[in-house]
Amino acid sequence: MKKLCLLILVLGIFRPVSGAEERDAQTIIRDAIDHWRGLSSYTEMTMVIHRPDWERSMTMRAWTKGQDQSLVRIVEPRKDRGNGTLIDHNNMWLYSPKINRVIKVPSSMMGQSWMGSDFSNKDIARTDEIVNEYEHSILGVEIIDGVTVYEIESVPLEDAAIVWGKEVLRIRADHVILRHSFFDQDGELVKVLETVEIAEMGGRIIAKRQRMSKVDRPQEWTEISVIFVAYEVEFHDNLFTQFSLRNPRD
């Protein structure tokens, strides 16, 4: 799930650049991702999906390694226990213990919602490749409560597989992403991923609670809160395989 957030959060970044300003924007985003993810991470988190007439909450565990591999497994509620998502490079698989099958998520389903949340499968499966498909620039620098905050605009390249017109990130100097806004091609705000709570966890200051919401449906949102996180953890080599997706060892 970590990765999920990360990836979503992150979306931005860098082509080889010449301007000093642009290199700065690139570095800021790159550092923010590395800070959030580490070389490897283990996270426990809850996800709350809120709708006007119902609310649902899930607890899950997530493992990430490097830029391309992650595994998410649901712990609570009981009936969903064991459901998992594996991301290895650009591919995504789902496992459901009820049908005892690993399903590869086809491209036609990548646009659909991930486990009923406001995140799409595509949001989750994004890897750093996508990061190369934007052009970044610093819009402004502010000092809020004594901390420097950079506002960075990322515009997708012409042939990038990204529907947004632009994305705007607000990143603190200590690498916490405060806000990630998605704009359509008319420059209208469509959805926002906002950091609601910041805390020190696993030895780093990170966004503890983040909320994704769509502008035209303010009553609906998905919130992810980190309960526990550990960085630079050693994993078994087989963790990010379909076998391990199907046969949880924890």
Partner: protein
Amino acid sequence: MRLFGVLFRLAWRNLWRNHRRTTIMLCAIAVGVWAMIFMTALTRGMVDQMIIEGIRTLPGHVQIHNPKFLDDPSISNPVSISAQQSFDDPEIVAWSSRVKVPAVISSERESRGITLLGIDPVAERHISFIKYDEVDGRFLVDSDDKGIVIGAKLANILETEIGKRVVIMSQDPDNDIADRGFRVVGLYTASTGAVEEAYAFVGRATVQKMLRIGNQTTEVVFVGDDYRDVEALYEVILDAVDDSVSVQRWYETNTYLGSMLNVMDGFVVVWIIVIFLALSFGLVNTLMMAVFERVREIGLMLALGMKPGSILGQILIESMLLLLIGLVAGNMLAWATVMSLQGGIDVSVVAEGLEMFGAASVLYPKLNVDDMILASKVVLVLGFLASLSPAWRASRYKPVEALAKVG
């Protein structure tokens, strides 16, 4: 022959003795025949359009595929004929090779499943249902074009427009995701919204690069002179390729359209007969009346030595005259109606319903000489049979009884 002359004259005069009744009957026949022919022309026109459009949107007249593509239309089943191979035969009017894959198109707000067609716009010009100059914006220029042309309705659903970017997602042969952003350069309109929603066009080379398939394509399409006669074209292509690919005629690729054509012929006959059945009651009734009115007269003619066969003939001639005049009037009426509606009938009020079976919202009636002949034949033959009974009765009167009848 002289006898026939006399009978014909008698019949003709009898016909106009009660001219009001005759006129009404003539009107009934004319309107009936008109309905038969006009409605048939209308349906024919509709089916014709469906087929022509269907052939344009999908199959061409003859297609080549990988045999497995038909069961699994994915990029893993490319056709082994390269785009470079040329086909040269007088039967082939135009041909083109395409990459046709299922894909997902997304804008900021919506995504939809579509059929993505990677085409060479130059070769496709005479095959495609899109008239390039009528496209809003512009159509693709060449196979390397980086733009995408989508249907106006799809653009509406996606809330996108010319100049904006959309993302196309599909799979490469290894089942990995292949995606790319495209800028919408043109919006096409088709006769039905279903088509506009279903197909998006991109440059063939661009999509080949996106799908990482080199120069492979998934289908080759050929167009001949006339969709009704594709056998010659089929043979030519069958000879030109080897066994590794499957060659199909349009009605095999799109069996719905194929059976449509057959159903149509049956439908025309049924339709004509149904109308005739309604008509025949009026016809028989009119003849009956004509006979009953003239019982004494018929008795007199019999008494004077006219043979029953001649009475029968006279009544039949009367009925045939009635039918013939009605047919001529009805045919002309139908012809005039169809001619006056050459510009098409706008039925957009019920367009949504028509779309369900793939018909357009403007109908162009199509007059078919065979249908006119068929209708006329049916009316004459069945009319003859229907009038046999009153005629037979008239010829069987006994002169004495008939003369004694008070009428």
